[in-house]
């Protein structure tokens, strides 16, 4: 659990709903979401403004620079918007090196405007960074020197004095409006556990602030406090990240337990597979395989912490299935590694892995799997002995190492003779 980006549609939905609740600002924004499953007739019934106003359509997929990439359609009627979407829905595109299909769009009223303001709030360790610029819009990066920022320490209220440096250059009437809007957005930011909000740009409609484009990021750790406030919220994967069935299976498993289970498939044809305990150690093992020049052979990134035997079995099954899926006679290695545990019972964790190994005996042999184990901590001797024994029982080469060995030593062993 950590910071999670949310869709523009949800950012705006939360902002509109809670600006009204917290500071009684009624944003006149409307937005509609379109995915593959959208029934346009139903949508039209629900959101009548779609047929009454000119529209803007853009993908809502957590990537930016949509305007620059020609993915924003302006000033369409509903039929035009539908046509624009239908043409692109499911189409694969590439954004900054990440490829993926477009699956979600947002439709909004087309707002002709002149002013484009920039507003960003980000949560920092000791407070908040609030940035504002009169020169927002797609050229913001070129105009970065025109962005003013203030730092607001954690417990300080966002007062007019605090905001003053940001809006000093604006005419006082507009400055006051925008200042109030900022205070409202900041209240929503704090109340809903946002970690980042950016509006680039927002404009003024009839003298009132009106966000045109918006990005938001929530702190998923705070989900338990915000169940009602967030409502039905989706945390989409970063653009370009399409989960394999195995990855979705583990993600699903991870969401249902207090244990930590992470599995990322890097290369299905890879010949080095990881089964590493601990957030810190998993990173270092992965680094080391890369350092040894075998990054391309790395099949997966995996991290687990505190799983039950049953959960460990399920995770191990997935990894073994992937590791044995493409046998080609050449040596394949599985790294069952980890640091010297503080409190995890190593023997018990290994029981789940051993059950999976026994299930996949023939697949392991066919894929020429070599297993390298390194672990220390409570009950590690039992765990290592069990691993050694299962190797002998199944006729699979297993090497085991305890805390006396360098943690990443098995990476060297794994790539030898590959």
């Amino acid at each position: 659990m950590a910071r999670k980006k949310i869709r523009e549609y949800d950012s705006k939905r939360l902002l509109k709903e809670h600006l009204k609740r917290l500071v009684h600002i009624d944003l006149p924004i409307c937005s509609a979401q379109v995915t593959e499953s959208t029934d346009f007739t139903e949508l039209l019934e629900k959101e009548s403004w779609l047929s009454q106003r000119r529209l803007v359509v853009k993908p809502d997929m957590l990537f930016g620079k949509r305007g620059k990439s020609g993915l924003v359609a302006l000033n369409l009627d509903f039929a035009g918007a539908v046509e624009f979407i239908k043409k692109r829905l499911g189409q694969e595109i590439e954004i900054e090196g990440c490829k993926g299909p477009i699956t979600t769009f947002i439709i909004e009223p087309f707002i002709p405007h002149k002013e484009e303001y920039y507003l960003a709030i980000s949560s920092e360790r000791l407070g908040f960074n609030i940035s504002f610029s009169e020169c927002g819009g797609i050229e913001i990066e070129e105009n970065w020197d025109k962005v003013n920022s203030i730092f607001l320490p954690t417990k300080s209220p966002l007062t007019d004095e605090a905001i003053a440096p940001l809006i000093a250059d604006l005419p006082s009437e507009i400055g006051k409006k925008i200042g109030n809007f900022m205070k409202g957005v900041f209240a929503v930011f704090q109340d809903l556990d946002f970690s980042f909000i950016e509006m680039n740009p927002f404009t003024l409609v009839d003298g009132e602030a009106y966000p045109l484009d918006m990005r938001g990021e929530l702190d998923e750790n705070a989900a338990f406090k915000n169940e009602d406030k967030w409502g039905n919220l989706e945390f989409p994967l970063p653009f370009g990240r399409v989960l394999s069935p195995e990855e979705s299976f583990i993600l699903d498993l991870n969401d249902k337990t207090s244990a930590s289970l992470k599995f990322t498939l890097l290369n299905p044809k890879g010949r080095i597979w990881n089964m590493i305990a601990g957030g810190g150690a998993s990173l270092i093992y992965t680094d080391t395989v890369g350092d040894l020049g075998c990054a391309t052979e790395l099949g997966n990134y995996t991290e687990y912490g505190g799983p039950s035997e049953e959960e460990m079995l399920k995770l191990a099954r997935v990894i073994l299935d992937c590791a044995t899926a493409n046998p080609d006679g050449r040596k394949r290695s599985i790294l069952i590694g980890g640091n010297i545990a503080n409190l995890t019972d190593v023997g018990a964790t290994f029981d789940g892995i051993i059950r999976a190994l026994k299930e996949k005996k023939s697949e392991l042999k066919e894929a020429n799997i070599h297993i390298y184990v390194r672990r220390g901590g409570p009950n590690y001797l039992t765990g290592l002995a069990k691993m050694q024994a299962v190797g002998e029982e199944l006729g699979i080469p297993v090497e085991v190492y305890g805390p006396e060995a360098v943690m990443t030593g098995i990476c060297n062993r794994a790539i030898e003779g590959m």
């Binding site: 000791l126 338990f224 990173l283 992965t286 943690m407």
Partner: protein, 758 residues
């Protein structure tokens, strides 16, 4: 060096006491501070100073004023007397500590060999591990002063070496802090939902200086509040999402450094020269090993936790280590994501760190991943280029840290740096001590196969250890799925086998038939009386159950025993009945108050019909019927009653099912299974009567005078009868209703003599 004058005055004291305490503080007089730092021994000393000077008159609270003064600052506080002579000093140490905390991060030491902690949310294992560590280090006092377990109070027994000690348990943070004013570390094992709130109230306690938060998943905004409060109040937060930290040979937080074997392996029972800080708790333990291999060991190690916003940062601790004279070099293990490493870069560049720093930032693999990846730690996320491991390693190297080329080369870099310090004479070899042996816990010794211990209880009917409870090996789920009834459950738990459906159905019929017999029978009566006396359900139920015995409810058991004995010995009904008569025993299971030979008990007929239809053999019942035929010839009310029917048919069930050996049947009859059936069945009725009385709000029952025969003469009859029996040396005259045993009182003898003379 700083001198603090401590003055105690008050009417409870024989004379006023004045002591000067020399206090050594890293920065003896802190500028711009209104107060001074006192070491914890002063707090421990104050009560004994007072008690040793108490006059003979008893103390009362607020008798004595303790005045501390230093450099023109003065502070006084009445002490608290817990009893006449026992004194606890609840000195508001915030006054004293505020200065310590002000510069704590900069001045160095957070812990010492006398540091004590309060432990929030009782967890046996980590506390025991802390105490084991204390013992290993030769600490005199346990490092856990008290435990806070919301809603509980009392003591928890734990081991301190070979001895057991009782650690006080408090229900609130405030109470714990008041009771243990010298405990200045708060170790928070609360869940992520409540960790922030409990940590905040701990930080607000004047006596608490350091808060370590173990939970992973504390909301960022909550952590930020803690950070802000800690900063403005000069306190230290370690974590969240951390295992904690350790000062070798002095103090350890929770599970840090794992098992005792590992602590010994890493020589953490005595201080070395290396200060270590990392994000990862698991990797910190790994690094304690690595560092112990190539240096003289850890002086202090802290895991700041893997969150985006740690309570204290890598650089906070490095700057602190820099001010600890015993720390000669520092090792840092950073991670991709966040910018914390850059504040260390800044500190290095500004020359704020003058000891060697060996650093490595892990996560160089992030560039292997095409799209954004969230690694194991919340803070480990490939952000911008600046937050990458590569960029941070580069910056640290440029700022003067020793940065290896990979994690694999980390150990060598640490060794090289250490060896250089030794060469330069900056590190003097540490004299190694042998730590005491810690007795192994029975549980872990058994687990590792080193010892065995006898069990104290044996159970053969059920097992609750697996995925779901099993009755005689049958999982609960299949009991429900297969549509088993209460009879089947009785069959599994009492007979340890699955009996055929006709048997379990018969058991169920018996339970139904025996469930109740109206309010007038003695069991129900007792239950009603007890319920009306305002007693609870269980008391009312058992007062009825306790009535069950030879005269009430015991007939089924007896019927089965006597019928079985007679049948097995081949007695004819005539021989059986007459032999019973001779012994003066009424045949159990025969006779009814209302039913007659021409008006049979409907229940008996139904049982017989069921058995004849379903049982493979009903030989015992047939025998009982023959006995009935004979007794009916003597008197018309001597019919086979429901007790006799159940008793005899139960014998047929056992014998006819073919599932019990002869020995098993004997044992079942012997140890009172049938009585068990009655107890079980009648509990249903007794519970019903209890609820009935309570529902009806019946008042206390009192037996009416009119219904009692008050007479002395009645007593005399019994005395005479008793005397008669004694004189004749024969059997009692009312065998089926034996006389109560009266105590042999001298009046009895006198009375007997009196009446005999009449």
């Amino acid at each position: 060096m700083l001198t603090i004058s401590t003055t105690f005055t008050g009417k409870g004291l024989a004379k006023s006491i004045h002591t000067d305490a020399k206090v050594s503080s890293p920065s003896s007089q802190l500028p711009n501070q209104k107060s001074v730092m006192l070491p914890s021994w002063i707090f421990q000393k104050i009560p004994s100073l007072i008690t040793s000077h108490i006059s003979p008159s008893p103390l009362e609270r607020r008798d004595i004023l303790v005045r501390l003064s230093s450099s023109g600052n003065e502070f006084s506080q009445p002490y608290l007397a817990r009893s006449e002579r026992e004194v606890i000093c609840s000195f508001p140490s915030y006054f004293l500590y505020s200065s310590l905390c002000a510069e704590a991060m900069a001045t160095g030491q957070l812990f010492s060999r006398t540091t004590q902690a309060l432990f929030y949310n009782y967890k046996q294992l980590p506390i025991q591990r802390m105490l084991d560590f204390d013992f290993l280090c030769g600490r005199e006092t346990p490092s856990v002063a008290g435990i806070i377990n919301p809603g509980a109070e009392g003591f928890q027994k734990l081991f301190f070496g070979q001895e057991e000690i009782a650690i006080p348990v408090h229900s609130t943070i405030e109470a714990a802090c008041a009771a243990h004013p010298t405990a200045d570390v708060f170790i928070n094992f609360a869940s992520f939902r409540s960790a922030a709130a409990s940590s905040m109230s701990a930080l607000k306690q004047p006596t608490i200086r350091v808060v370590a938060i173990i939970a992973e998943g504390v909301p960022e905004s909550d952590t930020k509040q803690l950070i802000a409060y800690a900063r403005s109040n000069n306190k230290v937060v370690i974590g969240p999402a951390t295992v904690g930290g350790i000062q070798a040979g002095a103090f350890k937080i929770g599970d840090t450094a794992g098992t005792i074997d590992n602590i010994i392996q890493c020589k953490l029972y005595r201080p070395g020269s290396v200060g270590f800080v990392s994000k990862s708790g698991g990797m910190s333990n790994e690094m304690y090993n690595t560092i112990a291999r190539v240096t003289d060991g850890i002086y202090e190690g802290i895991a700041i936790g893997g969150d985006v916003f740690p309570g204290s940062t890598l650089s906070d601790h490095i700057l602190r280590f820099n001010n600890i004279p015993q720390v000669k070099m520092m090792v840092v293990l950073g991670e991709l994501g966040g910018r914390d490493e850059y504040s260390l870069v800044e500190a290095l560049k500004q020359g704020k760190v003058n000891k060697p720093v060996v650093a490595w930032v892990s996560g160089t693999c992030a560039r292997l991943f095409k799209s954004e990846v969230q690694f194991g730690h919340a803070g480990a996320k490939s952000g911008g280029e600046m937050e990458s491991a590569q960029a941070k390693n580069q910056a640290l190297k440029e700022a003067g840290a020793v940065v290896p080329t990979s994690y694999e080369a980390f150990e060598a870099a640490i060794k090289e740096t250490f060896d250089k310090l030794v060469e330069e004479g900056k590190i003097t070899p540490i004299k190694d001590v042998k730590p005491p042996q810690i007795p192994e816990d029975l549980n872990s010794a058994i687990k590792s196969g080193k010892v065995r211990a006898p069990t104290h209880i044996i159970s053969t009917i059920s097992d609750d250890r697996g995925e779901e409870p099993c009755y005689a090996g049958v999982p609960m789920s299949s009991i429900v799925e297969q549509g088993f009834g209460v009879g089947d459950v009785i069959s599994l738990l009492w007979f340890k086998r699955s009996l055929p459906r006709y048997c379990t159905k018969f058991i169920e019929i018996c339970v139904m038939l025996c469930a109740d017999h109206g309010p007038c029978v003695s069991g129900a009566h007792n239950t009603i009386v007890t319920a009306r006396a305002g007693k609870d359900l269980v008391s009312s139920l058992v007062s009825g159950l306790l009535t069950i015995g030879p005269r009430f409810g015991g007939a089924i058991d007896d019927a089965a025993r006597y019928f079985k004995d007679a049948y097995d010995r081949g007695l004819t009904p005539y021989e059986f009945v007459e032999s019973m008569k001779k012994k003066g025993i009424r045949v159990p299971g025969i006779g009814h108050r209302i039913k007659r030979g021409d008006n049979r008990d409907k229940r008996v007929e139904l049982l017989q019909l069921f058995a004849r239809t379903n049982f493979p053999s009903v030989k015992y019942m047939e025998y009982a019927v023959q006995v009935e035929t004979y007794t009916l010839s003597k008197a018309n009310n001597l019919v086979l009653n429901v007790d006799g029917a159940i008793g005899s048919l139960f014998l047929d069930l056992l014998a006819g099912s073919g599932m019990f050996t002869k020995q098993e049947i004997d044992e079942i009859v012997e140890i009172g299974y049938l009585n068990g059936l009655f107890v079980l069945a009648r509990s249903i009725g007794l519970i019903g009567h209890t609820f009935d009385q309570k529902r009806l709000k019946q008042p206390l029952y009192r037996h009416p005078w009119e219904d009692v025969l008050y007479t002395k003469w009645g007593m005399v009859v019994w005395f005479l009868d008793d005397l008669f029996v004694r004189l004749n040396g024969g059997s009692p005259s009312f065998p089926s209703c034996p006389a109560p045993q009266f105590p042999q009182h001298e009046n009895t003898v006198k009375a007997v003599a009196f009446f005999a003379a009449m």
